[in-house]
Amino acid sequence: MIPLVIGVTTLTFALIHLIPGDAVEMISGETRQLTVEEKERIREKYGLNDPLPVQYVRYMVNLAKGDMGISIGTRSPVKFEISQRLPDTIILTITSILLVLVISLPIGIISALKRGTVIDTGAMTFALIGISMPAFWFGIMLMLVFGLYLDWLPTVGQGKTPLEFAKSLILPSVTLSLILVGFVTRIVRSSMLEVLSLDYVRTARAKGLSTRIVNARHALPNALIPVITVISGQFASLLGGAVVIEQVFGWPGLGRLTVNSIFRRDYMVVTGCVLVFAFMVILVNLVTDIMYTFIDPRIRYQ
């Protein structure tokens, strides 16, 4: 965990220094060309002339204090910029995960119980199509149908009032959920099939329990454990997808901030965002690991 955090921060530090031209060159030309002396003074002030190891230590110490530098575009702290956008990305991803569960669980379970039937084949075909579809294009199609033709939902931006906010959240979150729906449905199905063939399920049936109770009480809870693994493992790809989908729908989250900052060449914001994305992934994996001990007693006793 700690080596990982150090590794991640070192990589973002490396990214900052790999970018051609330092921060001063970027400030220069923003409003007017700075003279050589002015540039040198700024470099001295921010310690950009110090040896790399010194800069590295300073970067790490600042990060530990929560200081991620200053945005060149807005002149406000990167921390502030990110804290403005982060909640929107979190809301979007959580809504999408809930949607994935609502869609994938029933379909996956029914496919497993009706294995080999038309329902099963149909569901699995849709899952494969879902995996093969570019999510951002799916978003554009939803926009076309529900925004432009039917005019039911807003296509771009974020609503101000709670109701408008909820309405503007629908299309982006449905689009984002597509990234995982096909995948998770497949996992639910195969995990359910595996559990259904186990001895204890057969025992439960043999002692005369109804199929419904065996499926719901005995098979399902155990079949869900791999699903949690998969969703937490795929959380990173969900965040990655959010970057593109926020751009499609003009959703003012962290991903949109990242991409726009690249075009503004506001690299302190870019690396700050990249770092926050990585921390989110590390945090989710940690929480999942802890959650396991509550969900699955077998892990606790190991």
Binding site: L11, I19, S132, M141, L148, V270, F277, I282
Partner: protein
């Protein structure tokens, strides 16, 4: 009774049935009887054909602007209409096949040639080398793949070539992890230990005993990676971080078509369908390859 059976089944056929089959011939049989594989291969062949003969299949040029012919609705002359610069959408779609297929294959092959040796070295040598490689893998894994790719593009600057470079730099870890885990598990198997005990050289163990087990898994991984890379490349180009205008790339075309969505929805629909068909065809082949090459899945 025994005579009866002998009469019913000709001897040659019995011999045929009990004859041991080679791995490749069994894999080929599994592939050639797989409906998805056949469908996928046919579709992919058509796409490759379209990519190669794009210039012959259409009378228009993908990059020539024609201001007397802008924003034409779909018709017999312009199957999906023309964009705001009067370029034929279908022509650009055909040329896009070229770019997407090339990028997919290029990214997958380059990534493979970096990731596989690293994984083999980590798994086979173990120790410090393994630790260093796997630490780097762990760090890269902590980033959302697309975010890291975007950050790499930010470093090297947005362009088609840089995007390929960025994708390779962030996706080799998948091959490394995969190959390392296979090599690690093989190293402990009895037949490798036996080969070592018999005095087989390092090279002979690597090339004769380990490599044949790694190749099928990597082939499957590459086929899925081609599909994945096409999707990712389209997404990055859509964001403006990959192929730059006026390149006829599907993702970039979708980004361009967004402005015209109200009047020319076909320009937004068609590139996405093209991506989907391509990726689906390759995924079909990948699924079939996995079934054919993984002996544990075969009946």
């Amino acid at each position: 009774m025994a005579e009866h059976v002998a009469e019913l089944i000709p001897e040659a056929e019995i011999a045929e049935k009990i004859k041991p089959k080679s791995f490749t011939s069994m894999a080929w049989r599994s592939l050639s009887t797989n409906k998805q594989a056949i469908l996928g291969s046919i579709v992919l062949s058509i796409l490759v054909f379209a990519a190669i003969f794009a210039g012959q299949l259409t009378p228009y040029e993908p990059y020539t602007t024609n201001y007397s012919n802008v924003k034409q609705l779909p018709s017999a002359q312009h199957l999906i209409g023309t964009d705001e610069l009067g370029r034929d959408g279908f022509t650009r779609l055909l040329y896009g096949t070229r770019i997407s297929l090339t990028i997919g294959v290029l990214v997958a092959l380059c990534t493979m040639s970096i990731g596989v040796p690293l994984g083999a070295i980590a798994g086979y040598l173990g120790g410090v080398v393994d630790m260093v490689i796997m630490r780097v893998v762990d760090v890269l894994m902590a980033f959302p793949f697309l975010v890291l790719a975007i950050a790499m593009v930010a470093v090297v600057g947005p362009s088609l070539v840089n995007m390929v470079f960025a994708l390779v730099m962030v996706s080799w870890i998948w091959y490394t992890r995969l190959v390392r885990s296979i090599v690690l598990s093989l190293r402990e198997t009895e037949y490798i230990v036996a080969a070592q005990a018999l005095g087989a050289s390092q090279a002979s163990i690597i090339f004769r005993h380990i490599l044949p087990n790694v190749i099928p898994v990597v082939v499957v991984q590459v086929s899925f990676h081609v599909a994945e890379a096409i999707l990712i490349a389209a997404a990055l180009s859509y964001l403006g971080l990959g192929a730059q205008p006026p390149t006829a790339e599907w993702g970039a075309m979708l980004s361009n078509a967004k402005e015209l969505m109200r009047i020319l929805p076909m320009l937004s629909i068609a590139p996405g369908v093209a991506i989907m068909i391509t990726v689906l065809a390759i995924n079909f082949i990948g699924d079939a390859l996995r079934d054919a090459l993984d002996p544990t899945l075969r009946n």
